[in-house]
């Protein structure tokens, strides 16, 4: 029994507060669940609260939804699942690698190299578009490659100016989250359209949306995974290094299995973010790869007050995340954490 455990009356006040918050948390979820089982007449007739007591539950809404009368639910669900799973698996993998490198290795470069990158990228783009008359897409690709090559090349020399290290890289990654997503979403839409003119279809495509989601999940993955890797005991890795095990095998064979709980938590957070994301999907898709939030939001304007159908649609977006959270939290509580310590 910890000293911090509440005793006597305070304990019951705290419990009362928690119960109130629990009611507030659950009521809307309960409401949407029962509404999806109401008949149109039961919905219009005013609020009713208990199935079988003050209304007869019916499967009308669900039957309509599953039979496809209410838009392409099955396709959208599939698109959401494919994009969500692949984007979060890839983001977690790529981000974990970067986070590991940032924890265990030293990176040093001069501020000047970073400035060279930005200046060349800006200048090259403007030069290509306004002076040389290339299209936007081509100018962008050339400017990007030139900027990257020159920046990396310049870092081979001893440049003057302040030196940046690992923490600055992490800060740069995390600061990407400050950028208002509307800027990025809109500009990405235009960039994808330009790329479409060059023959790469990215608007309303699997690759386009997944790529955007990976990029926007990476900062958070790197931030979270860095904390997990820093908490790992370094001795195991040092022992492996003495035995001359190559670094990539240390990472995939020892470090990743040890940080399974962290990977699962990060994967879950990323998946929830991608699954629920609205703005990018709104800009970057229109039919084939539309995701659930867009379809659900559309129900609002198309259906007016057909709450039984809207509730069923909303539940299709909500339930998978709840199931996943339940499964993964159980996984995390049972053997996995122990496996890491052993």
């Amino acid at each position: 029994m910890s000293v911090r455990t509440l005793k006597g009356k305070r304990r019951w006040i705290a419990l009362g507060g928690c119960l109130v918050w629990l009611a507030i948390t659950f009521f809307p979820l309960y409401w949407v669940l029962i509404t999806s089982f109401k008949t149109p007449i039961a919905v219009v007739g005013g609020p009713t609260y208990l199935p079988f007591v003050d209304f007869e539950p019916s499967l009308t809404a669900w039957r309509e939804l599953l039979s496809g009368q209410r838009g392409q639910f099955f396709n959208t669900f599939l698109a959401s699942t494919i994009i969500g799973l692949s984007a979060s698996v890839l983001a977690t993998g790529i981000g974990a690698m970067a986070a590991y490198a940032l924890v265990r290795f030293t990176f040093r470069f001069r501020l000047l190299s970073a400035l060279i990158f930005v200046v060349i990228a800006f200048g090259g783009f403007l030069l290509g578009r306004n002076v040389l008359g290339f299209g936007q897409g081509i100018s962008l690709i050339y400017a990007f490659i030139a900027a990257l090559v020159l920046a990396v090349f310049s870092s081979r020399f001893r440049l003057p100016g302040p030196e940046l290290g690992n923490n600055d890289i992490v800060f740069w990654f995390v600061s990407q989250r400050m950028f208002p997503p509307i800027v990025a979403a809109f500009a990405l839409y235009l960039m994808y359209t330009e790329m479409g003119k060059l023959g790469f279809k990215l608007v309303d495509s699997y690759i386009g949306l997944t790529f955007a989601y990976i990029a926007f999940s990476l900062p958070i993955v790197i931030w979270l995974m860095r904390d997990f890797f820093e908490a790992l005991p370094v001795e195991v890795e040092e022992a492996a290094m003495v035995d001359n095990v190559p670094t990539w095998r240390i990472f995939f064979g020892i470090v990743l299995p040890m940080s399974k709980p962290g990977l699962i938590a990060t994967f879950m957070i990323t998946l929830a973010f991608v699954w629920n994301e609205f703005l990018f999907a709104l800009f970057l898709t229109n039919s084939r790869w539309q995701t659930l939030p867009i379809l659900v939001a559309g129900q609002n304007s198309q259906r007016g007050d057909e709450w039984w159908a809207i509730s069923a649609a909303a539940l299709v977006a909500i339930i998978p995340m709840m199931v996943m959270a339940g499964l993964l939290s159980r996984l995390m509580r049972s053997g996995l954490l122990l496996g890491a310590i052993k």
Partner: protein, 292 residues
């Protein structure tokens, strides 16, 4: 921390670096350059360099200030409420209220609900004729309340949905922070007969300050980006009274295709967020250092 040097480190970091660079540098270049131009796609208008014209237009546009004010109001009030409720719940859970295990899992659920779906549920619950809340209000003797159709009620409803959805995040982070506080300080306080309020004021709150600052910072930045909840609940209405910065940018950009204007707006938005972030950190820095 041991650091080693091995060329393989570059293979580990470059994939992430390239992806984020590609996705972040283009929006930056593109929107910064177009923000100095007058450019429209519908009706098509050739690009013309206007310098700071777009910025000046925006700063003189009362709608911009109105929208910034609305967003600030929603962000500050909802984050304030989230922090107060989140801290209370986290404290209760950390002191082992009965049934703590169940609360711990179920309190997180709203965070996983798509904001669009949460807004749709809110529309049902707040519906004037078919919603349960207005029935409750009538039973308590209030008139039928215009939750989504009158400015102050609509703002309140949006804030309520934000609080419902994001308090779990605050609970999660603060609970993690509370669990790292050492027990011996509390044992010493108990020996000195410190009241629970004294313990909270002199131990828990100061020691929790760094994580509190971080949590509130993250939530503030995220709240400024709010669009989906407003988009579904009120569409910015009545009139433009609940329009937020992102929704305004969306209207200008995607409905009117007024590119230069939208880009300038996004950069002003970025400046607003940066200024608020810096002011916030500057105000709190002395407190953070005092308790280090």
């Amino acid at each position: 921390m041991t650091t080693r040097n091995d060329p393989i480190k570059h293979f580990f970091i470059w994939p992430a670096l390239i992806i984020v660079l590609v996705i972040s540098i283009f929006p930056l270049i593109y929107s910064l350059t177009t923000s100095f131009m007058s450019m429209r796609l519908v009706p098509p208008m050739p690009a013309r360099f206007v310098g700071f014209g777009n910025y000046a237009d925006l700063l003189q546009n009362p709608r911009f200030w109105h929208v910034t004010g609305t967003t600030t109001l929603i962000a500050f009030i909802s984050v304030g409420l989230q922090y107060v409720i989140g801290l209370s719940v986290a404290l209760a859970l950390n002191s082992r209220v009965p049934g703590e295990g169940i609360f711990r899992v179920s309190f997180l659920l709203p965070m996983l609900v798509a904001p669009v779906a949460a807004a749709l549920i809110a529309r049902q619950v707040l519906n004037p004729t078919m919603g349960p809340l207005n029935e409750l209000m009538s039973a308590l003797g209030f008139p039928n309340l215009p939750f989504l159709t009158q400015t102050s009620w609509a703002l309140g409803s949006i804030i309520a949905v934000e609080v419902w959805q994001w308090t779990p995040f605050v609970i999660l982070m603060l609970l993690a922070g509370l669990q790292t506080l050492p027990d011996d300080v509390y044992e010493a306080a108990a020996l000195e007969n410190a009241t629970p309020w004294q313990q909270f004021r002199d131990i828990t709150f100061p020691m929790l300050l760094p994580i509190s600052v971080a949590v509130v910072f993250i939530r503030l930045i995220e709240s400024y980006k709010i669009i989906d909840t407003v988009f579904v609940m009120t569409g910015g209405g009545p009139g433009i009274s609940t329009e937020t910065l992102t929704l305004f940018a969306y209207q200008e950009g995607f409905k009117k295709f007024n590119l230069g204007y939208t880009s300038a707006l996004s950069f002003l938005f970025l400046i607003v967020i940066t200024v608020i972030g810096l002011v916030y950190l500057a105000i709190l820095k002395p407190y953070l250092e005092k308790h280090k």
